[in-house]
């Protein structure tokens, strides 16, 4: 027992020392959960690199009012248990905010971050995370899935020339990520005068979608929403082309990216994507800095990672000023909620605003179309910030 007590005393002593140094030495501790090697690693890696690249840039250019950001990336390989374990470690380290990644870690940690008051900036754009009543400490920097779907519907309806009502089919995997925007999207589609056909389910790991596409063909759908990831979307596009469908497809932010032409082998022509940023090399003010840091062309996910760190850095700066150097989680949240038309240098479709009652960054989407293997910006669609859409 004596030994146990000794060990206990030592552990307690060590804990005090560790927690003491957390704020000293001019560093700010931030967590970073990323998927580099897991099932979403192909898009997770560029996103995480974007986050880290901006951090490196800030640390090399003055940091947060003179303090450096201590942000070690942790590869949780899309394993939620690993994410939770690492989160517990971050909590012991007293991080003031966390850069997260996908649905897996974000959903698993939603309860914790609001109880522990740690702002969590992720790339899971599920609409319920924008409602501070449900998820007060969750933030992200792109249009939520439902808003993106609504923007796509509006764009398609605006360009619809025929007299009859356009027919639309929703194709999505039977997982929370696929299902979450469907309800809000269908309501809006009916409001706009679409004829909503019965749904089709295509699994995220599908290797063919013949029966679903045949059904879409028989239903004579004019438009098809694809709410999957790049692999399943490519499968859908390929099988649709093979069966000679006339349907025009539009996909959510994770369904189509620069890797699609390689996966879909030409079937991507004319498909639309609801992107949350500009492309690498686009002529916007913020791109100059990004291109000076990262010389190689990058996918849009990299740019969104970059932007999400840009937003966090700005929040840390504001929180540092407001608290006189004693940054806490709630202070970072409060700082984020002071964002009013924060300019990302044109990297996002619109300027970012967060309030204490509304965590939707903006209501805009860059609608891009594949033309001859290249993504071309068709329109930046801006929707009104309707209160009844919050969280749905």
């Amino acid at each position: 027992m004596k030994k146990t007590m000794k060990i206990a005393a030592m552990v307690a002593g060590l804990a005090m020392v560790l927690s003491g140094v957390a704020f000293s030495a001019g560093t700010i501790k931030v967590g970073h959960l990323a998927d580099l090697t897991g099932p979403t690693g192909d898009v997770g890696k560029p996103y995480a690199e974007g986050v880290q690249a901006y951090k490196e840039y800030v640390n090399a250019h003055g940091g947060i009012n003179g303090k450096t950001i201590d942000m070690q990336m942790f590869d949780y390989a899309y394993n939620k248990d690993k994410a939770i374990n690492q989160y517990k470690k971050y909590k012991e380290d007293k991080v003031v905010a966390i850069e997260g990644w996908g649905t897996g870690d974000t959903e698993a940690l939603t309860g914790f971050v609001s109880a522990d008051k740690v702002p969590y900036i992720s790339a899971s754009y599920s609409a319920h995370l924008t409602d501070p009543k449900k998820a007060p400490y969750n933030f992200f920097c792109a249009a939520d899935y439902t808003t993106a779907l609504r923007a796509g519907l509006k764009y398609l309806k605006d360009n619809w020339k025929e007299k009859r009502a356009p027919k639309i089919v929703f194709i999505y995997p039977n997982v929370p990520y696929g299902i979450s925007p469907i309800k809000g999207g269908k309501e809006y589609a009916k409001e706009l005068g679409f004829e909503v056909l019965s749904d089709e389910n295509v699994d995220l790991k599908a290797i063919e979608a013949n029966s679903q596409m045949l059904s879409v063909k028989n239903k004579n759908a004019d438009f098809g929403w694809i709410g999957g990831t790049t692999n399943s979307t490519a499968v859908i596009l390929k099988d649709a082309k093979k069966l000679g469908l006339k349907t025009k497809f539009f996909s959510n932010i994770w369904g189509i990216d620069e890797s699609t032409p390689k996966l879909a082998a030409g079937a991507e022509e004319g498909a639309l994507v609801m992107a949350g940023s500009v492309r690498y090399g686009d002529k916007v003010p913020g791109m100059k800095l990004l291109m000076s840091v990262e010389k190689k062309p990058q996918v849009t996910h990299y740019i969104r990672g970059w932007v999400s760190m840009m937003v966090l850095v700005e929040a840390l700066k504001r929180a540092d000023k407001a608290t006189g150097g004693k940054i806490t989680g709630p202070a970072v949240k409060a700082a984020l909620e002071t964002f009013r038309d924060f300019d990302t240098g044109g990297l996002t479709p619109a300027k970012i605003t967060f309030t204490s009652t509304d965590h939707r960054p903006f209501m805009a989407v860059n609608i891009m179309e594949f033309q001859k293997g290249k993504l071309v910006l068709k329109k930046t669609m801006v929707l009104p910030r309707k209160a009844e859409w919050l969280g749905l």
Binding site: T103, T110, G111
Partner: protein
């Protein structure tokens, strides 16, 4: 196993849980260690300890069904989910306390288990495994689609328990809640196996026709076994949901069911202590591998990515090795170690 000088003159002595004073002392030490644990570890390790204690409840439950009654179930993950959602609905949506939610979770899951256990009357072995697999998928679909109750794709945020003004907000305090419930349930399971009901379970497992001829109502005991097992799963699921403060459909997939099945196979089928070993093993091993691969990755940066990818492979290999070299599970190995020291140095 019996040793020289260990005389048992009554049946009561033969079925005693703690056979010798030495065992009692050991259990006392174990109890003290478990109570002291939150003061020795923190953060990540405290969280993992808590998850192990919760998994012990679920593993003991599955062992009652699969190990003691011989009914294979691939639906444990979904039954955990039923418990988690029931307690989440009762605490978060109806506003009732945790102390109502958890027993209710057990009861509702027991009911669900009884319904999905009905095929066990006609189906055995692999066929029953497939039938319970169906329950896994049906329940998962319900979690995702029954939006008014389960919150659909958004899930439910659930509170931690409280008594009076005290909220079990920290992992340390909540660990004790989990520990007390787990200890009570493990003790209950151990005792259950010494009763008429427990012996009936084992008779059904060993030879169902003989059991029936002896007057054991097969249907009753199979369904009862499903009910008891699911009650455990429900409580474990509820405790898990409250520990995570959030319940969503993706937490209770087929992978969870398989991990639980692996726990009892590796720990030892038909052994309560085996379920405990299995739960500890299956949760600690991936952690250990992570530590090893991270170390490897940091000392040899070139293989960092491969090391992480290898983790799953090594995990699988270790399980296969275990099954080859210790087919009766960790419980058997434990017995052998005990016997070795008891007979030392004159093992014969």
């Amino acid at each position: 196993m019996q040793y020289c000088g260990d005389f048992r003159t009554t049946y009561e002595k033969d079925v005693k849980i703690f056979q010798t004073p030495f065992v009692k002392i050991c259990m006392g030490f174990l109890g003290v260690a478990l109570v002291a644990l939150p003061f020795l570890v923190k953060g990540e390790y405290l969280w993992i300890s808590m998850q192990i204690v919760i998994a012990v409840i679920g593993a003991v439950g599955l062992n009652i069904l699969t190990g003691f009654t011989g009914q294979i179930s691939l639906g444990q993950g979904a039954f955990l989910g039923v418990g988690a959602y029931t307690s989440a609905y009762i605490t978060a949506k109806m506003g009732l306390p945790f102390w109502v939610g958890v027993p209710a979770a057990g009861c509702v899951t027991a009911l669900a288990g009884m319904i999905f256990g009905i095929p066990s009357l006609r189906l055995k072995g692999l066929y029953l495994a497939i039938a319970t697999l169906a329950s896994q998928f049906i329940l998962e679909w319900i979690f995702l689609r029954w939006e008014p109750v389960t919150g659909g794709s958004y899930g439910i945020v659930v509170p931690r328990p409280s008594i009076g003004g005290f909220v079990f907000d920290t992992d340390r305090s909540y660990y004790y809640v989990v520990l007390v419930i787990a200890a009570a349930m493990v003790l209950f399971a151990t005792n259950l196996m010494r009763t008429r009901t427990g012996r009936a379970f084992m008779a059904v497992r060993d030879h169902y026709i003989s059991a029936e001829i002896m007057g054991i109502n097969l249907f009753k005991y199979r369904i009862l076994s499903f009910a008891v097992s699911s009650f455990y799963a429900g409580v474990a699921g509820a405790l898990y949901g409250h520990s995570l403060r959030y319940v969503s459909s993706e937490q209770f997939n087929i992978g969870v069911s398989i991990v639980y099945l692996a726990m009892i196979i590796i720990g030892g089928l038909g052994s309560i202590i085996g379920s405990i070993f299995g739960a500890v093993f299956m949760i600690l091993l991936p952690q250990l591998l992570t530590v090893v691969t991270t170390q490897l990755g940091s000392s040899f940066p070139g293989i960092a990515e491969v090391a992480i990818a290898l983790e799953q492979g090594i995990f699988g290999a270790i399980i296969i090795m275990f099954l080859i070299f210790e087919p009766d599970g960790l419980a058997h190995r434990w017995k052998m170690i005990k016997a070795y020291w008891k007979l030392y140095p004159f093992s014969y």
